[in-house]
Structure formats: C-alpha cells, structure tokens
C-alpha cells in the first residue's frame, strides 16, 4: 500500500555520509595527501586546472581527492569555487615567446633555432605496464643540462619572415569572457578559443579527430608544440607599471595548415592555435585543429557541413560541466511529465479504438 515518500533530507545526509566513507576506502591503506596528488598525479591536476579555468595546483589536487578521482566532478568543484572569487584585476597577456620551455618540438622542420627538446613525454615509451612501480621504489633521477639561454623563437615566425603564413591581426582589445557574459553567436575567434581551451578534452579530441578523418579536413602539421613556464604580469595602478605576480605552466600548439590564396593574394599557409593551462598537449593540439576548422568562414573556405566547422554545435556542446549536468538531470523525478504523457497516450489509444480507423491519415 502507498505511503507518501518522506524523509528526503535524511536520505541525502545518509548518502553523503556513505560517500565520504567510500571516498576514504579501506582505512588500513594510508590516506592520500593533497600534496601526493599534486606531485604524482600532475597530469590529472593539469586537466582539472585547464577545464576548471583556475590555475591552482593545490586546489585542483584537493578537488580530485574530494571527487574520488572523477575528473569532471573535480572540474565542477573548481568551477563552482572559481565563480565565488572576487576579481581584483586582469593580468597582462602572457608572452609565450618568453617561455622557459621544458618541451618544444616541431613537426615541420628537422631542426630549428632553439632545437627540438623532447622533455618529459610519453611519446616514445613502450606501453608496457611497469610492475616495478607497484612496489615502493627509489626516486628516479634524470640527467640535467644547462637551461637554454634567451628566448625560444616561434617556428611560425620563420615562415612569417617569408610571408608564407598568414599573420594574425594584433589587437589590444580586452577579449570577451564567456564566464561573465552570455555566449553570443556568431562568436569571434577570441571567444571560440576561450571556449575550446576550457572545453572537455574528450570532446575537443573527437572533434579534432573528425577533421583528420575527412570531416572538414584541413591538413594540419604541428608547426610547434611547446610546454613550459611563463611569467604572469599585472599592472598595478598605484605603481603605474606591470610587475611579475607569478609563473604558470602552459602548453601551446600552433598548427600550420593548408594554404589558401586567391587571384589577388598569393597562396599562404594558415594557422590553428591551442593554448591550455599545464602540460596538456593532447588538448592543445586538438584545440588548434578545431580552431582551424572553425575558421572556414573567415578564410573563405567552403562549409562542408562538418560537425567541427559548426560553431554553434561545437561551442554549445564543448563544456563538460553543462553537458554532464543536463545529462544527469534525467535521473531526477519526471513523474509529473510522464503522467501527462501517459494520459495522452491512453486518450489517443481510446479514441483510435472507438473510431473506425481512417484508411489513410493524410
């Protein structure tokens, strides 16, 4: 017999208590510290910072711990925290030419000033499980070299000297911020890049992959991929000049893509661009490919109707916090709507039974 469901509040409290217990796991196993996550799961931390749009490795590590390793949940925690932070000011644009590179590779030239620096990459590891890691081990030590002196020039800069690649317009305008203003379409490139940079890695990856497989193929070469730290500067009104307030690690990818040209303009290569917090190169490369695909209109290319060319489709579905929230909300009760559907279907069936069915419903 029916008794109205009561006690929602107690059920929620109990669920939260159980969740906390599960998060801790077997108490005979040592508890993870936030510092351990920050240091030893740093690529997870980087992803949470990138998609959470907040550069703070300690908070990202805390979020990962709290989220039991569910990175989208951790990103959500960071986003919700981020919105409550007061905005004290805006930094100057970072100069990636000043980056102290840990990794810097180009696929378009065998060598270039600044050199090819592999850095800490999985690229040439054989993906064999390393059972030694299962046991506590000594801290590995890599050999060290003198850090490179001076700037590492951008590869596209070399192409630009010959006019072989399109130069991008420079502007000192404050870019739009989709976390402060509602998204308006069509979006300009700055807004698209912001959306891609904080978009879901898996989604951006798949969109990029689709362009490689022929859905708006744009023949991308990785002109350059660089990872390293850059200084962040901020102008302090009281001082009247910019001071360095810290350093962040960034991954930057510039792709060199198929050339365009017309009767009036000689052929030139074009660019796609990716810039993401932390060491996040899969994301940065994907972002550059999708950025390039979304530029079809401004570069005078044909709309092939490919998903990655469709700005509204890409931008409205790139955010995993929006996506997961809406997806998961269908777990909530919908019995009122369902009842409404139930009544309608019953009514239509009743009517269909009582009436002789028309031969053809035109």
């Amino acid at each position: 017999m029916y008794v109205a469901v009561k006690g929602g509040e107690r059920a929620i409290d109990n669920a939260h208590a159980w969740l906390a217990e599960e998060r801790r796991g077997d108490t005979s196993v040592a508890e993870l510290s936030v510092a351990q996550i920050r240091e030893q799961l740093s690529l997870a931390v980087n992803r949470v910072m990138a998609e959470g749009s907040l550069y703070d490795p300690d908070l990202a590590a805390l979020a990962i711990k709290q989220a039991r390793g569910d990175l989208i949940e951790a990103i959500f925690l960071i986003r919700a925290y981020r919105t409550t932070l007061p905005r004290l000011g805006a930094s100057e644009p970072v100069k990636t030419a000043d980056m102290a590179c840990e990794r810097r590779i180009s696929a378009t030239f065998k060598d270039a000033p600044g050199g090819q620096v592999l850095g800490p990459t999985f690229d040439y590891t054989h993906r064999l499980l390393d059972f030694k890691l299962a046991a506590e081990s000594e801290a590995p030590q890599a050999s060290e070299a003198e850090p490179a002196k001076g700037q590492t020039p951008h590869i596209t800069g070399f192409l630009n000297r010959e006019g072989l690649i399109q130069s991008e317009p420079e502007s000192d305008e404050t870019p739009p911020d989709l976390t402060r203003e509602p998204m308006e379409l069509p979006a300009d490139r700055a807004l698209r890049l912001q959306s891609l940079s904080r978009g879901d890695e898996g989604f951006i990856l798949s969109m990029a992959y689709s362009t490689q497989r022929g859905y708006a193929r744009n023949h991308a070469f990785v002109g350059e991929l660089r990872i390293g730290s850059v200084p962040v500067e901020m102008e302090v009104p009281e001082l009247g000049f910019a001071i360095e307030i810290g350093e962040i690690t960034l991954t930057e990818c510039e792709t060199v893509n198929q050339f365009t040209g017309s009767k009036t303009e000689p052929p030139q290569f074009t660019r796609g661009y990716g810039l993401v917090f932390g060491q996040t190169e899969r994301k940065a490369i994907s972002m550059a490919l999708v950025d390039r695909a979304l530029r079809w209109n401004e570069l005078g290319e044909e709309d092939q109707g490919a998903p990655a060319q469709d700005e509204e489709f890409v931008l409205m579905h790139a955010d995993n916090i929006q996506a997961t929230g809406f997806l998961e909300h269908i777990k909530l009760p919908h019995y009122v709507d369902f009842q409404s559907e139930l009544e309608l279907v019953r009514k239509l069936r009743r009517e269909a039974e009582t009436q002789s069915m028309p031969e053809v419903a035109e």
């Binding site: 109205a4 009561k6 929602g8 919105t83 929230g325």
Partner: protein, 293 residues
Amino acid sequence: MTDQAYNFAYLDEQTKRMIRRAILKGLAIPGYQVPFASREMPMPYGWGTGGVQVSAATLTPEDTFKVIDQGADDTTNAVSIRKFFQRTAGVATTEETDKATVIQTRHRIPETPLGEDQVLVYQVPIPEPLRFLEPRETETRKMHSLEEYGLMHVKLYEDISQHGAIATSYAYPVKVEGRYVMDPSPIPKFDNPKMADCPAIQLFGAGREQRIYALPPYTKVVSLDFEDHPFDPSKADHACDLCGAGESYLDEVITDDAGGRMFVCSDTDYCRARREAGHLGAQAAVMEEEAGA
C-alpha cells in the same frame, strides 16, 4: 542561520545585480528570453541552477521560501535547494503554499491559487520553445524577432493529422500578450491556464542556457491551439484517492504487481491541507492504517 563564509544568498553582489537587471527587462518584455551571464552554481546544471540564481537575486531576509519538485516539498532535489537557501540566506521556509512569499518550482504550479504578494520561480531546462523544431539559437532568435512562428503551428498541425490531437502534454507552448511564443517549462499542460491573469509575479530561470524570462501579474498567456482543435488542459479522469479532490493534478502510483494503482494529488501541500480539513478520498482510510503501522 546564515553561513558566514558566503555572501547573503550565496551570489556576489555584482552577479545579483546582473541577474536583477535581466529580471527587470524580462518583466518589461513578457515572454522574451533575456540572455544573462549565468554563473556556475554549486549544484549541477540541469538541477535548477537557473531557478536558484533567480531566487538568490530575489530573496530578502523577510521572505518565506517554499521549494517544490513535481509538486512535492519533500522530493530530494527540492529538499536540497531549500536547504541551500536556509544555509546561505537564512530565510524562513514553509511547505504551505499560502504562507510562502517566494516559491521555487520544478514542473508544477501549485493548486492553491497564488496571490499578489507571491513570486513563483520556475526552473527551466530548455527555455526556447522552438528548440526542438530548430536546434540553432541563431535561427530561433531570428524567428522570435520576426514573430515567425509558422514552424510551431505546422508541428502542432502535423500532430493533429497524425494523432487526431495535439500530442504535446507538457511544456506546452504559450503565446504571451499576443507577441512572444514562450516555453512554460515542463509543467503539465493542465497547469497552463494558471499562468494567465495570475496575480503573482512569475519568473523563469534557465541556468545552463543562460536565459531569464518573466510574466508580470495579470499577463495574457494563451496556450497555442486551433479553432477546430481547442487547447485541452486534461488530467487523469479520477479523484485523489487520499483527499478526494476532483480538480487537482494527479500522480498515478503503482501499488502492487497485479495492476493495482491509486491516484494521488501531485501537490502534496494541497492534499495534506484538504485531508486536515476532513476531506477523504476512496483509499484514505487504508493509507492512514498503513502509515500508522
């Protein structure tokens, strides 16, 4: 008690001002979806973040707040949202419709008629009534600006030719003051007539989709229909088995695996008040027995 770690009603003042400005424009252009810079809230998108932001911008410490989901005060998400504002705004809460000054709702309009001193805040998942006919915002915005609603009429008409009736039973589109076609949120069409000429202020918040819209009191709200197929706000042809109400929206509850079922008011406060006033439905006695056991 208010949680001191956060601002009154959680949101910072600048965010509330931005939402408040959007609400005022929404009231000035009834049914038009005002874009707003929806914030990431500490609950998931799709779980009422739009309604929560509108409530946060609307509540004062003097308010009495009620939250319902599916008409019920004790569904888990309603409980969660009510608790959020108890913590962050320190407002009094109630389950009684007529004691509330601000009511946040998902999927229902209370059965008890609303009064002039009340604000009803709807949680909206997809604010664009044309979205399922045209997925692109760039297109639907144009259609609203040109008052080009032919697509909607074609859809409803196709329903009639296929099913003999309009096959939309919830989120049934309405036209506001003869101008904007508006999504009433996924309320059952049974509730649509309550939106028209309502003495209360009705506010709609869609967080993920970044839209706010509004109906001032006594606004003309007409459910779309055709002369030969008038709008029919039907509901289950039963009375409530607990309180005997014949005019309330009913949930169908399956009671055993032999086809047993009963119909009960979806508005739990309305049903409780009626039972307390002595109204009894066909199975009320059985329920009392079970509940007491």
